[in-house]
Symmetry: C2
Subunit: 727 residues, 2 copies
Amino acid sequence: MSNKAQRRLNQIKNQVDSLPSPSESLNDERLNPSFPVDEMTHFLNGGKRITELKNKFMLQFERDPAWKLSDQPNLSLPQIRERTLNKARSLISYLITEPVNVFKLRMEVISYIDPAFYTRFGVHAGLFLGAIQGQATPSQMEYWIKKGAITLNGCTGCFAMTELGHGSNVAALETTATFDEITDEFIIHTPTLTATKWWIGGAAQTATHSSVYAQLIINGKRHGVKTFMVPLRDPVDFKLRPGVNIGDCGKKMGRDGIDNGYIQFTHVRIPRSYMLMKHTQVSRTGEVKAPALAQLAYGALIGGRVSMVIDSATFARKALTIAIRYGAIRRQFAPAPGKPETKILDYAIHQHRLLPLMAKSFALHFSGRAVAELNKSLQKQIESLSKGTSEQANVLESLKEVHATSAGLKAFGTWTTLGLIEECRQTLGGHGYSAYTGLSSMYQDFAIQCTWEGDNTILTLQLGRYLITCYRQFLKTKGKLAPGVQYMALSSAPFSASASTDEVCDPVKLAHAWGVVAAAAVRQATQEFESSLEAGLGQDEAYENCSVERLKAARMHYHAFTLSKFVEGISRAPAPLQPILQQLCQLHACNVTSEHASEFLAAGYFTASQLHGIQSRVMKLCQAIRPQAVNLVDSFGFSDYVINSPLGRYDGDIYRAYFDLVRQNNPQEARPPYFESVIKPILTSNYDTIEGPELEIDEALGSQEEDLSAEDDVDTPVSAVGRPNNE
Amino acid sequence: MSNKAQRRLNQIKNQVDSLPSPSESLNDERLNPSFPVDEMTHFLNGGKRITELKNKFMLQFERDPAWKLSDQPNLSLPQIRERTLNKARSLISYLITEPVNVFKLRMEVISYIDPAFYTRFGVHAGLFLGAIQGQATPSQMEYWIKKGAITLNGCTGCFAMTELGHGSNVAALETTATFDEITDEFIIHTPTLTATKWWIGGAAQTATHSSVYAQLIINGKRHGVKTFMVPLRDPVDFKLRPGVNIGDCGKKMGRDGIDNGYIQFTHVRIPRSYMLMKHTQVSRTGEVKAPALAQLAYGALIGGRVSMVIDSATFARKALTIAIRYGAIRRQFAPAPGKPETKILDYAIHQHRLLPLMAKSFALHFSGRAVAELNKSLQKQIESLSKGTSEQANVLESLKEVHATSAGLKAFGTWTTLGLIEECRQTLGGHGYSAYTGLSSMYQDFAIQCTWEGDNTILTLQLGRYLITCYRQFLKTKGKLAPGVQYMALSSAPFSASASTDEVCDPVKLAHAWGVVAAAAVRQATQEFESSLEAGLGQDEAYENCSVERLKAARMHYHAFTLSKFVEGISRAPAPLQPILQQLCQLHACNVTSEHASEFLAAGYFTASQLHGIQSRVMKLCQAIRPQAVNLVDSFGFSDYVINSPLGRYDGDIYRAYFDLVRQNNPQEARPPYFESVIKPILTSNYDTIEGPELEIDEALGSQEEDLSAEDDVDTPVSAVGRPNNE
C-alpha cells in the first residue's frame, strides 16, 4: 500500500477514534445534573437509610455464588429449578435473624433480582403461611409453626387454589372436601379432570404440604369453598402421600425457576383439624358455624395487589435504566457526511418513545405509594375492629374502596409496565431480542402479572362495579363520597376555550379535568346500568350489559387517580427535586391527556387548538427532560448486578461487556455436536431424483397436480424461494 | 356416607355432567354458519387448488417425524438447533423437484409451522442466494451454483450485514474490504469490536460461506458498502478458515432453532472475483465502475417486507384460532346460582377484546394482498426496464411508492399482530403463560419482526418522508398523485353533523373520512417540514424536526390504506361471503375510527354524538359477529398440527389434550434430581444462630443497623413477609 493510502487510512481511523467511547458518551450525560441524584434515590426509596440497606442487600447477593445471574439464559429447566430453591437456604437464616421490616426490604430487593425465586419463596412464606396466618385458629397456627411452616424445616408449602378448568371464579372450584363423621376426617377429592389443581407453584417438585381450596360438603350439603391443609409428600423420603398424584406443568413463558405443578387427590383423608377454622368452623358432629364477617377475608388479597402496583413501578424503572443508557450510547446515522453518528436518544422520535414512559414510571411510583398508604390504614382499621375500637360499617366501606382501588391499579399498572418493557425492548433494536440484554426475559417474567392474582380484565370490571355503586350512593345521599372518588361531584372542566397552552398544560388543572372526565365516564356506565335495571334485568345482567362502559370508567378513574397522586406526591418531595418532578408530572399529564384526547374533545372540555398545544408541550418537555434522562435512571439506584444487562451498565462499556457475556455463556466449539448427524450429510448429499423407466403411454394423462391457479407466476427462479419473508 | 348423602352428591355430579362437554360446546358453534366456511378458506388462500395443496403440505409435515412440534418447549438449545437443520434435508428434495410456485407455497406453510426453521432456510435460500442472484454477474452466479449454493451440497450460506454497533445505518458499517492490487485480492477485516458481524443467522454452527457487507477500499479511498463472498469453514472437515473467528450469539427471546452467530475477520484474503460485481465492478488495476441505477438494488428488500405483512395476517389468524376456540369452550361465572357457567366468549367484554382483532386480521389480509400486487407489478416493471421496454423515471417512481408502502405496512402490520398475539394470550388467562398452549412462544417468535429487516420506527419515518415528498410534489404539479396517495387531494369529510349513525358507520364513507384525516396529517407534517426549511435548516434537519408528525402521518396513512383495501377487497369476494365480510369491514372501520377518534373530533369531521354512535356500533357488531366467531376461525383452515395448541384444537377436547401434552413432556419422577443436594438440607436444617459469649461492655454502643425510618411498622409478624407481591 502506498504511503499516501496509508495516511488516508489513518485519517479515517482517527476520525473513528475521535468519537467519544461508549463510556465517555455515557459519562458526558452526568456532567450537569439539574437535581441532586442521590437525594432522588432516597426520595424514591423512602429514606436514605433504606437506600443504604438496599445497597447492602444488592452487594450481598451479588457476591453470593448462589445468586449468580449472568448464566441464567443458558440453564436447563432442572438446573434453574435447583438453583432457585438453593437460594431459599441462604435466605432462611436472614428470615430468622433479621427484624421483620428489614427482611421485608430484603424481599423487595429480591423481587427485582430474581422474580422466579421471589415467587417460589413467596408461595411458601406468603400464600401458604399467609393462609395459616389468616385462616387458622391460634392452636392450629401453633401446630403448623411447630411443623416447620416458618423455617421450612420439615414443611415446605404450596397454595392449591386454581384448577385446570377454574380460575377467577373461586366459588365454582370442583375439588371436594367431604366430611366423614365416623372417622372425624375430611376426604379431599378431585372428581374430574378439570378439577385438577393446576399451576400450583412449588407443587411439582418441592412442597411437602399444601393449603387446598375445596368445596366443604357435609351430609351432602355444600357449604362453600374452604381451606384445608393437605400433606403431599413425606418430609423425610419425599415420597408422595397415598392418593396424591402430582406432575409438573413444565415450561412457561418465564419464571421457570418456580416449579408449577398439578395435583390430583383421590379420596385423600385428613383429620378434621386440618381444615383452617378461624372463620368457618365444623364441629365433631358436622355442624357448621359460619363467620359473621366473611368479607374481611378478602382483606388478605389486597396486599398482593398493592405490591404488584409497586412492582410495576420498579420494573418500569429497571427497563428504563437499560433503554435510556443504551440510547445515550448507541449511535446511528450522521447529521452530515463525515460527521460522527448521532446518539439515538438525541432523536426527537426516540425521546418521544421513552421519556413519556419515564414520566409514567413516576406516576406508577406515586400511585403505588398512595395505595400502600390506603392499605396500611385499612389493615389498622381491621385490627382495631377485632379489638372493638372501630365500627364495622366503616371498615367495610374502607375495605371496598381499597379492594377496588388496588384491583384497578394492579390491572392498569401491570398492563402499563408490560407495554413499557416491550417498548424499551424494541428501542434496543435487534439486541433487545437477545436473552442476555435483560428486556426479553423481563417481558417474559413480567407477563404473568396481567393474569395472576386476579385477571386484569376482571379486576377492572370489579373497579367499574365499585365506581357505579359509589356514584349511585352519591346520587342518593348527595355529597358523601369516599376520598378516592371525590371527583364524582365534578361536572365541568377547569378551563375555557380561550385558556392558554400554559393553562391547559398545568398538571393541577389537568388533574382536575381528568376528574371531570372520569366522573362523566362513571355517569355513563351508571346510566347504562340503571337503564338495564329499569328494563327489568337483574343486577348481574345489568352489570354485564354495561361492561364495556364499566371498563372505560375504570380506565378513566385510573388515570384521574394516578395523575392526582402524582401531583400530591410532588408536594411532599424535597425542594431540590421539585423542578424535575414538576416537569415529569407535566409530561405525564399532557401525554396521557393527548392519548385520551377524544374524551376531552367529545365533551367540549378543550378545543382542537388547545389539544395541539398539549401535544406540542409533550415534545417540548421531552426535549427539556432529555439532558436529565441518564441522571434520572441513575437515581433509580439499581446496581449493575441487579440490572443484569450489559447494555444497561453504569460505566457505559456496553459492547465489550455484551460481547464478553455472550462469549462466556456460549463457549466456542470446534464443530457443532450435530456435525456428523446432520450437517455432513447435507453438505455431501447427492440429490439424484428417483427416475423410473420411460413409459410408452401418453404423458398427458399424468397428474397435473403441480399446476396452481393462473394467478401464480411459474417463472420465478428457484433461487428466489425460501427467502425469509419472501412473498 | 348415608344413602341420602350419596343421592345428593349424585345430583350434584349430574348437574355438572349435564353441562355440555368441551367438544359439544365447540361443536354447537358450528351448527348455523352464516357463510360457506370452505369457500371462505379458498377465498383467503387465493383459490381452492391452493387450499388443497396447503392441506397436503400440512399433512406431509405432520406425519414426518423430523417435523415433530409437540415436544419443542422442552428441547435444549443444541437439540432444537439440530432438529432445525435436520428439516433442511427433507426439504431440499422438494426444492429440487417441485415447480417453483408449488415450493413457494410449501415455504409459506412452513413459515407458520416453524418460524425458526423458516428463517434458517431463508437465510440460505433467500438472503445468501438472493445476494448472489441480485448482485452476481452471470459467470459468478454459475460459479456459486456449481459450488452448491442451491442444493447446499458443499455450500451452506449466511448473510453478514449487521454489526455489533451498526444496524439500520448500513452505510456506516465498519468492516473493510481492502483491495490488494499485487495479489489481486480483497482483504476482509474487522477493525474494531463494534465491527464484529452480529446476529448472523447460520453463522454460529452451520454455514460454510457468507455474503459479507463491507466498505470497499481501494488505494485508501472508500467506495461504499459492497458485497463479498467469504468462505468461513471448510465444507469437508468444517474447520474455520484462517483468520475467521466465529462464536454463538446464544439464547434469544424466540426462534432458538436458528444459530445466530458473530464473525470477526482478521485480514482474511479472498480473490477479487469474490466481490459480487453485477452493479459495481472493480478491475484488475483497481478501477471502480459504479452502476447507473444503484437504487434498483433496494427493490430486493421489498419482497421480504411484503411477506412480513402477509405473515402478520397469518399469525393473527393463528392466534385468533386458539383464543376464539378457547373462549367458546371455557366457562366462567354462572348467570345465577345453580346454573351452568357462561362461555367467556358470551361476555360482551370478551367479544370486545377479540372480535375487533378478528376484523383487524381481515384488514391485514387485504392489505397484504394489495401490497403483494403492487410489488408484483413493480418487479415486472424492473424486468422490462432491463429489456428497455419501460421508462426509468416511471420505474423509480413505482419503486419509491412500493418501497414506502411496504415499509409502513411491515411496521404497523407487525406491531398490530404482536399486540394481537399478546391480547389473545391474555384471554387464555393463566394458561396463556404455559409454553404448551401456543401463544407465549408465538409472541416470542414473532417479536423479532418489529426490529429486523428494517426497524419499525425507522420504516414508519421512511414512509412519512415519502408522504411529505408526494404532498410537496402534488402542491407543485397540482393533481398528479400516485395511486396509493390519491387521498391527499381530499380535504373535507363525507358526512355532515346531522348524518345518521348508519351513515357515519358506512365503511365506504369511513374510508373516505380516513383519507381526509390522513391527508390532514400529511399536510401538518409537510408544514412542519417546510417551516424548518424556511428557517434555514437543511433537509435532514428539517425531516428530523418533523419526525413526530411524520410518524403520525404514516400511521394515519396506514389506516386509510388498510381500510380502503378492505373495502375494495370485499368487492372481489364471492357473493355468499360478502355479508360476513361487510360486517367485519364495518367493525374494523368503526373500531379503528373510535381508537383514533380525537383526529376526527379535532377536525370537526364528526360530532361527539356521532362518535358515540360509532362506538355503540362496535359493540353491536361484536354481538352480531359473535355467533360466527368459531366458523370464521375454522375458515382460516389451519390443521391441529399447525395450530400446535391443545387449547385451539378443532374438536374442542382441550382439557384432556392439554393435560396429556403437559404430562408427556414432563414425565413424573419419584423425586426431583436436586432432592439430596438442595431439598433435603432445607427440610432438615437446624437454624441455630451464631451466639458468642455475653460481653460486659455497654450494648447500647452496638450497631443500630437494623433500624429503619420511623415510617416502618416493625411489628409485622414474620409470617407476613415474603408473600409474593406482599407490600
